[in-house]
Amino acid sequence: MAKITFNTHDNNTYTVDVQNGLTVMEGAVQNDIPGIDADCGGGMACATCHVYVKEEWLDKLPAKEDGEEDMLDMAFEPKSNSRLSCQLTVSDNLDGLIVNIPSKQG
């Protein structure tokens, strides 16, 4: 179990408990957090679960698989701390993770 915090672009903060093994995207969708569309349902095929990861967390996350960076090319305003939240599998190590949700997903 990990506590994950989502900051929306309009300055709302949501902190939710996400079960180990789920992805950060699933944690957001199950808790109705606005701004994570996840149109393709976690297939790394749409870039609508894009988040910005707080800098101090970047190195602690699972590395990007082939294809994630390609999909991020399509995301709305990608930055160096951009990740697809469907690719971030939750474990105890992610307890306290903070991500910012972009103003739009597309």
């Binding site: 090319d73 709305f76 990608p78 597309g106």
Partner: protein, 338 residues
């Protein structure tokens, strides 16, 4: 005006199978889709990825599934309208008139929305000012490449479309290719070609840059691009092209008065009819308690929606429940000769 019993919106697996079910019960239909081919997400998002949960098909790809469905509806000669997005809806007595983005008009008894997560549309630049140039000097697809002859074109993106157009247009125009990182998602051979052209001075490649602002009055004057480290460059441009793939959007359907909840349309589970009589929704776009976004659920929903359409298409007839294994009428419709 295309007159038919039912208009299906969306040519994904759910829409295609619904056409089959309409055909079996003797109703005609036509299908509209905003993509240039049938298959929906199966073709656009995962043509080569395997699917393992189609009943009685242990494994198939999105492309195989689409081809099989097209094969299955062949006897019904369904008319497809590709590259068309539905826009206007009007009730005329007991029928619906629908008009598409390209001006195609339909006169139908019922409508089945099988639109998935929405129609596929090009992703746009985040920079707000881009909107005012869209369609005259800023494009997300190319219809007539001759307008670019001897002009300066700034192309944004790192996939095959961006690379291919950069290479192609570098023959007849001055091309700048701008991409947010050093890596590209397009084919390696195209990446090498672009790098060669850049070294030969036939194209200017800017990596780790993204658009910051776009400047001009009626026409684009220049774009300002910003490096990861903060440096800003100004590049003169007559035209700007953006290739960032496709995104799914509900579009004009949002204004049809349907009950929409979180980008899905509420339906009943008896006939998958929406809050508007004669308009049905099936597949990923519909929602009801217990909804599963699986292709197999879309097939079931399509079978029931097709039967729901019957009373609108043939109000004076009663639908008889029959099996394809034994029904003479169904087999005739399928063109089976005995």
């Amino acid at each position: 005006m295309n007159k038919t019993d039912v208009l299906i919106i969306g040519a994904g697996p759910t829409g295609l199978f619904c056409a089959h079910q309409l055909g079996i019960i003797g109703l005609s239909c036509e299908i509209v889709d905003n993509l240039d081919k049938a298959g929906g997400q199966c073709i656009e998002l995962y043509p080569d990825k395997p699917i393992y949960d189609i009943p009685a098909v242990p494994e198939c790809t999105g492309e195989e599934l689409t081809n099989n469905l097209l094969q299955q509806i062949k006897p019904f000669n369904v008319k497809f309208h590709s590259n068309e997005r539905v826009e206007k809806l009007k009730k005329v007595e007991n029928r619906w008139h629908v008009k598409t983005s390209g001006g195609v008009e339909f006169d139908v008894a019922a409508i089945v929305i099988a639109g998935g997560v929405g129609s596929f549309e090009p992703r746009k630049f985040p920079v707000k000012d881009c909107e005012k140039f869209e369609g005259n000097s800023l494009f997300y697809s190319i219809k007539d490449k001759s307008i670019f002859n001897d002009k300066t074109i700034s192309i944004f993106g790192g996939g095959d479309s961006a690379l291919d157009w950069a290479i192609e247009l570098s023959n007849s125009s001055k091309v700048n290719l701008i991409h947010r990182r050093d890596g590209f998602s397009g084919a390696e051979s195209s990446v090498q070609k672009v790098k060669e052209l850049n070294e030969q001075g036939k194209l200017n490649l800017f990596t780790k840059y993204q658009m910051e602002t776009i400047v001009g009055d009626n026409k684009i004057d220049c774009v300002k691009i910003k490096h990861d480290e903060g440096e800003i460059k100004e590049i003169k441009s007559d035209y700007v092209l953006g290739f960032f793939g496709l995104i799914m959007q509900l579009g004009p359907i949002l204004d049809w008065g349907l009950n929409i909840n979180k980008k899905t349309i509420e339906v009943n589970t008896e006939s998958f009819e929406t809050n508007i009589n004669g308009i049905f929704a099936i597949g990923d776009i519909c929602s009801y308690p217990g909804k599963l976004k699986l292709i197999l659920s879309g097939f079931h929903e399509g079978a029931l929606a097709a039967r729901g359409c019957f009373k609108y298409a043939k109000p004076d007839e009663k639908l008889r429940f029959e099996f394809t294994t034994t029904s003479k009428a169904a087999q005739e419709r399928l063109g089976i000769k005995k």
